[in-house]
Each structure stands twice: as structure tokens, then as C-alpha cells.
Symmetry: D2
Subunit: 410 residues, 4 copies
Amino acid sequence: MTAPAPKKVVLAYSGGLDTSIILKWLQTEYGCEVVTFTADLGQGEELEPARKKAELLGIKSENIHIEDLREEFVRDFVFPMFRANALYEGLYLLGTSIARPLIAKRLAEIAAETGADAVAHGATGKGNDQVRFELGVAALNPALKVIAPWRLWDLTSRTKLLEFAEANQIPIAKDKRGEAPFSVDANLLHTSSEGKVLENPAEEAPAYVYQRTVDPEAAPDRAELVEIGFERGDAVSINGERMSPATILTRLNEIGGRHGVGRLDLVENRFVGMKSRGVYETPGGTILLEAHRGIEQITLDAGAGHLKDSIMPRYAELIYNGFWFSPEREMLQALIDKSQEHVTGTVRVKLYKGSVRTVARWSDQSLYSEKHVTFEEDAGAYDQKDAEGFIRLNALRLRLVAVRNARTKG
Amino acid sequence: MTAPAPKKVVLAYSGGLDTSIILKWLQTEYGCEVVTFTADLGQGEELEPARKKAELLGIKSENIHIEDLREEFVRDFVFPMFRANALYEGLYLLGTSIARPLIAKRLAEIAAETGADAVAHGATGKGNDQVRFELGVAALNPALKVIAPWRLWDLTSRTKLLEFAEANQIPIAKDKRGEAPFSVDANLLHTSSEGKVLENPAEEAPAYVYQRTVDPEAAPDRAELVEIGFERGDAVSINGERMSPATILTRLNEIGGRHGVGRLDLVENRFVGMKSRGVYETPGGTILLEAHRGIEQITLDAGAGHLKDSIMPRYAELIYNGFWFSPEREMLQALIDKSQEHVTGTVRVKLYKGSVRTVARWSDQSLYSEKHVTFEEDAGAYDQKDAEGFIRLNALRLRLVAVRNARTKG
Amino acid sequence: MTAPAPKKVVLAYSGGLDTSIILKWLQTEYGCEVVTFTADLGQGEELEPARKKAELLGIKSENIHIEDLREEFVRDFVFPMFRANALYEGLYLLGTSIARPLIAKRLAEIAAETGADAVAHGATGKGNDQVRFELGVAALNPALKVIAPWRLWDLTSRTKLLEFAEANQIPIAKDKRGEAPFSVDANLLHTSSEGKVLENPAEEAPAYVYQRTVDPEAAPDRAELVEIGFERGDAVSINGERMSPATILTRLNEIGGRHGVGRLDLVENRFVGMKSRGVYETPGGTILLEAHRGIEQITLDAGAGHLKDSIMPRYAELIYNGFWFSPEREMLQALIDKSQEHVTGTVRVKLYKGSVRTVARWSDQSLYSEKHVTFEEDAGAYDQKDAEGFIRLNALRLRLVAVRNARTKG
Amino acid sequence: MTAPAPKKVVLAYSGGLDTSIILKWLQTEYGCEVVTFTADLGQGEELEPARKKAELLGIKSENIHIEDLREEFVRDFVFPMFRANALYEGLYLLGTSIARPLIAKRLAEIAAETGADAVAHGATGKGNDQVRFELGVAALNPALKVIAPWRLWDLTSRTKLLEFAEANQIPIAKDKRGEAPFSVDANLLHTSSEGKVLENPAEEAPAYVYQRTVDPEAAPDRAELVEIGFERGDAVSINGERMSPATILTRLNEIGGRHGVGRLDLVENRFVGMKSRGVYETPGGTILLEAHRGIEQITLDAGAGHLKDSIMPRYAELIYNGFWFSPEREMLQALIDKSQEHVTGTVRVKLYKGSVRTVARWSDQSLYSEKHVTFEEDAGAYDQKDAEGFIRLNALRLRLVAVRNARTKG
């Protein structure tokens, strides 16, 4: 593709060394105007330094966009996903995957607002994030060009990057001189670490990789009980106190983090075809998944629950692969949301040294009927003789198969 | 159904009070010959007392069948199921469900061997086990009658049962005089508890319910590492020592049990239409599931893994509902087994106060390619520029949708 | 179940001999008040004779409910189902299955309006219709009793039925004296025939079984083109003329019927466990399915279409089994309806001697891009070089598998 | 990718103008040795002219591979696929898709035999075939390079191609001077046509596009009955005469072709992201699908059939997208093949002016039980009272939902 050079580019800008280099590279490579976009998704970093750094690199102040997206992130992305109990490959809570569509959305929107003809991101050509950003942008603003410098430039080693930075007066924090021992992504849902010291899946991850959760062995010796209230599938309160979505997740992260909850060491399949090893810390999300399953247990009908479970792997795969803004994800979301109309009630979970377990749940919307299930006299709620016909008709086809097989073997 | 009375009945006989009453009831109700079948599935009880008790109730010694089925149980039922990473409703490891088909199989086989025309079991009309027994028998020996006394007799209260027992000289253990505070099923895979004190899902299960695992808070203060070896999807060794299937599960139960691993408090949907609350302890199985996922992470292709995940809920539901001996379970098993041909290698898990986590895994069959995934120079293993075309073609349809939607909105 | 006798029963009443006998039997068996409900679903019979007959059997005129439900039937049941391209077991258009929930709904509603405590139907204990009626009633008005005389009474032969009719002064049409050579169900969507002369699936159905379609060999020698307009997945016009849902289906039945379209000779699996052979005639529905697929071809995104296709068998099975009013059918409907937002446009089909084929389709909502697909110069719409990266990354995991397999075989 | 030039290339060579140009281009572009591979897959063309032409272009005779693969094609590719009743997007019988893996397999094998380091094909960069060839080759011989000249060269117009041909003494058949009005692919399963005059899906395909089937309006005025015998899911005989797989398909093509059976005009979704319009003629395959469904109707259990149906769309998509040689296709095949063990028997179909319908079927392996289904007295085979319990337990959860919903609305 030798497309014409972009004139104005919206860059997903963290303020860090890498995206600062990209910023400069865009300016020098294309001579284009750069608009920076820096979002607070709960990654736990100050954003104002990013503004300063952008200014230092010559970005006009009207071109610097800094936004607190935490509530939107949790309300419109994290919570809808948790309604599905989504787990990628059985274990991964999709903490990075679910943040990318929101960034793509804001990149596309800011491009429209500022008249930019391109967006740029700092994801490499080996990972999933490039796909997530670019599919999102394509779905939302199909005319935009996307520039992925890591797939384009010749700054293919740390040394070359640092040389470029120095040659272009980009300040380099002292701790960035040496290489980081692994790569980190963080937001309100999780912290992920991968690469370098983690690249051999046969070796246990070093303790210093974990940043958001205490080692379970260092967690409090006493278990903690937490009650989470749900309405229509979304968490709305902790221990009876009503809170906004982002506040709930923040609070659950604190609670889970101090109990060492939500650590995961995983080898997963990237969309681009290779396996990769990641270490994830999702303290609040892990609690939320457990509690959401807990409340569904009493409020969701069996047919509804089994249908949800059967489409979940596909839903999770779509999010992982970057298809949040696709017709099929929206169709699955419609199905999932429909199921959540009565998923309202409270769950009590117990946190202890790395684990979280549902221990009690109650709801006005409960479908649990003690009257039916009881071992005691049930006053006619359930006629045990019904089971005979139920079993006999379920067995009929198996019986016919058995008779046929016996007949045709002889 | 006013079928003719059975002449010879094979009874699934535990030696306990309830099945002893059933034994007597069959004799008196039908005047039929009773064959007892008592199996060691790892429930942790001596079997010889069952023989004594059967003799005492007048069963001829050639009609008393006592069998150690532990190896068959783990090899032909538990392990095939674990190849699928089966979880019912996201959480339940199917410990009871997977034992029932084996009992049904032996009931049907012993009936054929002894010329019996019926089998009998002690499951109630409210639960899943009646379905599992009877579907199994129907599939294996469709001509057999099944007698389920709990759906037939009028011994509908504890008092009546005890009266029947006394009237028929059935010895009653002292601790059976009062009612048990909950009902228990156990085998090599798990112990389940339900009913009575557990019937209110809003109340935490009392500590005394748990029988097979220590309270995580009472577990050792030091984590334990365990290495599990797999071949073609099945566990074959622990810490380098090769063992039989039943020995492996026994050993993992001991290890998991002392670390408080595998407790689950669940409200689940029974096949017969009601919700029920159970407390499960599956120490070895919980370790096995985690480790099996761990070894699949490096040895299973993404396409294979995602397909397996997508059919797993259906597979688990079939087992839960009692369809082990159905054409569709066998079809799914063929699919699953096909996937396991290279699932060979070793996983190291860490056990600590209720949790088990994979921390390392390695295999000659590994598909993990450090060369491809590395953040370092990859010597051309992967061309980052390929990602551009990959993304562009994946985005094409999304782009066409976006253009269409924009066009038709205007 | 020896439930107390019903006091007031709403009977699904056709006016025919069988339901007249049921009416009388309810009166004599329970001494209860009977409310009759007779619906026009397009079965092609006058309803007024049913009123006369009910009056003759002593039903008070305020207890006789006769309703034209054709528009509701097509709009709220047939069309939503056709949005899914539903086919049971690959072939059956569900003509009977989709009518039953509407009857169940009106039975439940009339029971509520009239203060009845039970409903009754004339379906036998071997078929699917009993399940469909009773699941529908249970879901809509769970307190209602359901009376299914065919499962209860001892009128188990034709002779006994006629004796009962004569003894109770129920008029018997002359042609009902002998037994019908097969059983028929009809509504606006289809006519189904089964039983008796059709019971041997190895014998071709006699020509006289077909009632709604001409023999293809007797159809016009000239093909006919028909254009069907769709909006959001539903047919709204024929040959440019806008019509109501029921009118469209009526018109398509006429057109299809004279071309011999929509005959199906099927052995299917009933929910109650046995196989059954049916002959179906669905002229309008067969055209509608073909045309709906035709319009989806150009307006539905690949991801959306493939997702729909993958859940269709489950959706069809739910309808066949009687679960229209279930949470999971409603969830699937939400998914399907979401997909239809842009399924708007026109399809031209060609009808000829038993077949219907899409030959052209066009739409303002089309996603078809001649610019992209053309064999001619495409002016840069599509860069063929993108395909290389696309293929290489799709191939990567296959390549890694091949290398692994080669390595571990050696 | 600036990979080193290939030394020896196996070319999928048809003998036509396009692949002759490719042959020459490979020689001139890379100076490499070219091995030609020409297969008879039933496309209905003589192969010897391809040999002559290859010789003329300087290929040594030991480098010319001409093979009759018809039996392998039908036995190992077409028949396994038909066991699944595979239809892509509800309608397409995958005639082109299923031939590509076999060509890829032979390319990879001949490359191994002849020590070639690359393969080449004549598929364009817009279609599915490039993907199918290249995924197949990657899965079978991952070290091979693949050369796709249409994605590489600058011969982007008809004029340039002809100039290249003339400049290189490639003979041009007179009828190839002008451009063909559409593009054709043919093999024993189907003939597909696309492009040029077919590019507007709103215009009916011209009559001259169809090559393998007569116009239904020109087909015989009398219907024809054909009996097809199956064993374990594969067709083995026609009208009682046993034949090899390829012979059966050839014969069914003749029969279907003269009755105008198997025409399809479709807009489909290509894997590379665009929609495309194709006209397919699959006379024998259309008969085979209908008949296979017919025999499954009586020999396949409901659970098995419904499972097969539910995974079919995914299976078809995998084949369409080129993943025949993938772990997940092999897993699905294992599932499908397992289901076919008893799919043995005979089906009678009726062919008439474009349509084919099953009218009778019989089998020693039949599961159809007239005894159970009959409207007549069934001598106790089925107890209608069983249906009551069956329905009541299926209804229980719906009832509990209804009670809950009523309660929480108030």
C-alpha cells in the first residue's frame, strides 16, 4: 500500500517513551499534524505528565485530548461483557481485549471531530491489540487510515529506538535506558504482563511480575466476606452501599488485591496464530465473575443459562479477536442482555488467600423453590410419579437404538 | 404401568439402611429373588459389611456381587470426561453424574449374567440419579424393567421407614435413628452434600458439612508444588512417579484435600426442572482440571481448543442429564479424543489454602514457539507486515457494513 | 395425580367429531362448565358451524369464543420464525409447531378472562402437540390445570368413540363413520398429513394425500416470476403491492400451490422419542424461506449470517418441541431480530413445477460491492497483496502444528 | 517478503492459457525448474493436451505429472463431506471448496517427491481458492514456499497477458482472444460460474451460463425414480447396481443433469471479506444430499442427528474457508463419522424438472417403529400416560419462571 501520506493523525498517546517516539516519527516521516489522545482507563497513572510531554514535543494544546473514560469503560464495556461470564480459553477475563474497542471508538470520534484523516497506535505487529484497534476503527469510521509504526519503521531494536529518541530530543526516563524485564498493560479491569522474563512457559513467573495483587501467602490470615448487589446483571452495590460502575470495580480491585485474588498464569492463542504466555491480575473482575455466576444460579432459568453458556466461548473469542464492533457481537449481546432482566439480588463471597467463593445468595427474583426440592414432605408441589413418564420418554429413543443395534449385530 | 411383577431383581445395594429397606421391600412386595450389587467406586467405605448385611437379609451368597470398580471408574469414565474439561453450569465437576453410568452398566450386565428381569435403585423421584440410572439401563439392556421404590411405595416419611425396618428385622445403626442433617454421595472423584441444613441457599453451609477437604484457613501455611504428567490427555504420573488412573486420583485427593482445594457451594439446575443447592468437594478433580488445561495450553492448537470449548457445555449437560450411553455423547467423545492425540507433557501446579494454579508447563509436543512470540529479534520467523493484510481482510466486511449503514441512515 | 375435578374448562374446539366428543366427555366426566375456543388460523374451514355445534351441545353463547387469528398468527409467530430461516431436521418448516403456541396463548387468556380453572385439548399422548399446548399454558398461566382426554379416557378405539357419540346425541357426519385414511392438520402456513396409509415410510405417499398443492407434473408448463419485498426481515409486498402479513402468506400459498411448490415427505423425530412420517405442504412458506435467504444474501453481513445459521437448529428444535414461550427462545429471538435491521429489499423468485429458486435480488441496503469483487480493474478498492498476509497468519498455527507433528513422529 | 527465489516449483497446471503464462513467467522470473501437475478431478477435459503443451513450453517429461484423481476425490473428500450434509450459508454444496485440498495435497506430495522448494497456483488474490491451496500446503508441508503470480506480477489486464503470451510463444486458442463472458470451475461434483455477466446480482443469469444441467423447462415431461443404496453414510449403489464412488457421482450427474436438478444462483460471503455472486450446477450432489438426508431420517437417532445439524454450519464454513487439513475439521469429521455407523439402507428419490424429492426409504438399520407411532392400537408399546409426567417435568421450570415473573411484576 503506497497510500498518500496522512495530513492529520490522531495518536493513541500514553506519554511514555514508545508513543513519544511514534509521535515524533509521525511528524518527521509524514510531516503531518499530530493530535494526541490520552485516556484514563484506570491504569493508575497520572495523565497530566502526558499533556506536558505532548506540549514539549510541539503538539498544540487544542490538539491534546485527555479524557477520564473510567465510567464509560466499566458501564459500556466491562459490565456488558461480564453479563456473559466471558472467559477466553476457559480462564482469561479479557482485561486488555475489552479496553481496546473503547480506545478505538474515541480515536475514530476524535478524528471525526478534528478532521483528521488517520489514526496511529503503538501496538506491535505480533500481537492482538493492533487487530483490536484497527477492526474497531474500520467498523466505526471506515475511511480512516491506520498507521501502525511498529509494522512500518526500521527502529527494530532498543538501541535504534534510543538513538532516534536522543536525535529528536525526546526525554528518556532513567529507568527506560535499560530494557524492562517484561511488558505491562493496565486498566481498571486488570494488569497484564508478558514478554522477556516470561517467555519460557516452563519457568514460574518471578514474584516481582505481580503488581496489583499481594502474594496469596502474604494475604491476611483471616477470610473476608463481601456482599455484592446486582440489578439486571450488573453490580450496583458493595456491602449494601450503592456505587457507580467504576467505583465498584475500583473497590473490588482493592479488596481482591489485598487478598491475592485473581492471579492467572496462562499460555493463550493469539488471533495472529501464535501462542503467547501472559500473567494476568484481575482482582475485582475475578470477584465479579464469581458473584455474577452466584446470582445467576438462583435467578436464571436453566434453559436461559445453558444457552448463555453455550454461546459464551464464541462471544469471548469475538472480544479477544477484536470484533467488539461487529454485527455478530451485537447480536450475541442482545441475546445475553435479554437473559439478564431478572438477574437481580445479592451474593456473599468469601475471599481468602487467593481464592474467592460464593457462600450465599438471595433475591426477590429467585427461581429456587425450597418447596420443590426439599427432602421433607413437599405438600404436593412435586409428584415423584411424574418422573417415571419423564424418564421413559427420554429413554425411548435410546431403547430403540439399543434394540436396533442388538438386532443388526446378530 | 401395571406391568407383571419382576421375578429377579438386581439391586444397587450400599448396605446402608435405605437400600436394606428397599431390599426387603422388593422381597415382600414382589416375592422376587434379589441380587445385590455393591461397588467400590472410592466412596471410602468397607464393602464387606454390605455382604454380611445382605446375607442377613436372606440373599444367597451367589447373588451377592461386590466389586472394586475404582480403576474402571477412573479410566473409562472420569478420565474421558476430563479430556473435555467438562464443567456443568460453569462450575460443577460432575462427580456424581459420572459415577452413575458405570453403576447402570454393571446393573445391566449382572442382570444379563444372572437372568434377572429387573433392576432396582434407591434414588428418589426428585433427583437426577434416577434419570441417570434408568437411561443407562435403557441404553444397555432395553428389555429390563426398572424399579424405583421411592416413586412407588408409601414409606414417605422417616417414621414410616423406621417402622418398616423394625417390622422387618432390619438392623438400624444408632446414628440413623435421628435424621441425618444432610444427604451425602461420595466416590473417588468427589463428595457431594445436599438437603436439609443446606436447603436455604442464602445461608452459608455449616463447617461440618465438609468431609473431604480441610478448611482452607486450616490448611498448611506453605504452598506445595505438584507436577502432573499427561499422555494423550490423561494424567499418568505425579511428581515423576507413574501410577494407575485410580491411584493418581486417590493421591491427588489426598494432596488437594489437605490444602482445602476443590470446595464448591452451588445452586444448580436439575434435569427434572428444579433448582437445588449442593456442596461439592472435588480435591483431586479440581487439580486435574487445572493441570489438564495447563497442558492443553501448550499442546493444543487454537482451532482444536476453541472447538472443544464450544461443545463442552453440551457435553457436560449430557453427562449431567444421564446421557452417557447416548449416540451424541459418543460422537462428542470421538471429537474430544481426536483432539487429545498430542496432549502429552507435564504441568506444575501450586496448591495453597484452597486454590490451585498452574505455574509452569512443558512438553515435547509443545506448539509454543518462543521464536515467533518473542519481543526480541525473531530472525524472520514472523513478518510483522503480514499483519496488515490479515487485519485489512478481516476488516473488509466491517468496513462494508459501516459504509452501508452510513449511506442508509442519511 | 388425583387433582380435584375442574369447575370450568376452556376447550380448544374445532367443531369436529373428536373435539365434540371431548366436549361432552368433559361435561359428563367432571360435571364442569365448558367454554369453547375456535380459531381461524387459516385452516380453510368455516367457523360458524362450530358455533352451531357448540350450541347444540349445550354451550351458552357467552361461552363460545370464535376468533379470526390469522393476522396475529402470521405477524407474531410465522414471520418471527421465518427471520431465522428455521428448518427442523434440515427440511421441515414447522407449520404445525408454530401454530400451537398461539392457541395455547388464547386458551390461557380466555381462561383468565372467564375465570376457568382448566383448559383441554384434543391432542393424543403420542404426539408433539400435547407438549406444545401444555408447555405454552404452563408458561403463560402456571396455575391452570390441563386436561388431555386422550391420555385419560378409555375411548381407545374408533368403535368406542362412535358409541360414545351416539349415546350422547353427538351428530356424526356420514364421512366420519368410516375411518379417515390419514390425519390432517392445516393452517395458513401448511397442511400436514400423517398416520394410517402413511405409516410405512418405504411406500410412496398416495397422490390423494396432497390437498393444497397440485402435483408438480400437473402444474403450469410455464414458469412464473414473483417479486417479494422485505422490510427488516419480513415480507411486505408481492410484485410491488403492499399487503398485510396474512394476505401475503395467503397469496403466496395460492401462487405456490398452483406450481406444486412446497411438498415434503419426511420421517422426523418427535420430542416424545419416536420417529414419525409426515407429508407436508407448505407452498407459501417454501417461497418465503427461499426469498428470505435471497434478500439476506445481499443485506446480511457474513458474521451475522454465520452466527444465525449456527443457532438456527437449536431455535427450530425449541419451536418443534413446544418451547416458544421459554426464556431461551426469547433470547434467540432477540439475537435474530437484531440481525434483521437491514434485511430490506426485493427478491425475484422463479416458480416452476415444484421448485422455487431465487434468480435476482436488489436492495438499498446491499452489502454486495461489485467494485470489490469484480474481475475487472477495481481502482484500488481491494489490494490483492493483502491476501498474502491474511493467508500467512491464518496458516501460522497450521504450520506450527505440522512442524510439531513432524518433529514428534520422528 | 523478499525471500530467496525458488529453485524448483510444482505448478498446478491446467494446460489453459492462464497457467501456461504462469509457467513461462515462473521460468523467466525466477529461472527455476518447473514441475507441472495436472489432475483429472472430473472437470470433463482431456489431459493429454496439457502434457503436449507443457512439453512445448520446455518441461521435461519426468517433470510432467498427470493424474486421474477422480476416485480419491470422491472417496476421501466428497463422500466424507456429504456425511455431514454440509451446506455453506444454507445452500451451497461446496463443489469448488472440496476439490482444493486434494490439489494442495498432491502439490505438497509431488514437491516432496521431486525435491521442489515451492509450489505455484493460478488463483487470484480476491478469491477463496488461494486460501484453500495455501492453507492446505502449509498444513501438509510447512517449509514449502507458495507462489501466487496473480498477487505478484504486473500482468493486470487481459491485454498485458496476451502480450506476454505472444512475446513468449505461448499458443493462444482463437476463442481465448476475446474475454470469456464469465469464469468457470468444474469438477466431478459441480460446475461453478462467476464474474463478468454475473456480477450484477439483480440481473438473472443468462441461460448460456448453465453448462451441466438442462433448463428445467426443457427437461423430460415424465418424472424419474432413482434408488440409491447407502452403507455407513456413503452411497454404494444406484438402482441396485453397486459402483465405485466416482462412478456413482458420474452417474448421478448424468441423471440429475438431464432433469435440470441442482442449479443454484447465490450471493455468498467469501472468506476474504467480500460478497460474490456465483451460479452453481451440482446435479449429482443435490441428489446425493437429498438421499442422504432421506436415509438418515430412518437410521439416525434424534440426539445424533440434532448434534450433527448443530455443528454442520461450522464444518461447512471450515471447508469453505480452506481448513480441510486442520485439527478442528478432523475433530468434526471424527464426530460425523461416528454418527454414520448405522446409516445404511436405500432411498428412492423422484426427479422432475429441476427438483429432487425423497419419496420412500427403507433399511435393516431403521429406527422407525410403526408399532410405537401408529394411530391404531399399539399393544402397549407406548403408554400415553407417560407423556403426562414428561410434559409436567419439562414444564416445571417454565412454571417456576411464570410464577416468579408474576410475583415480581406486582
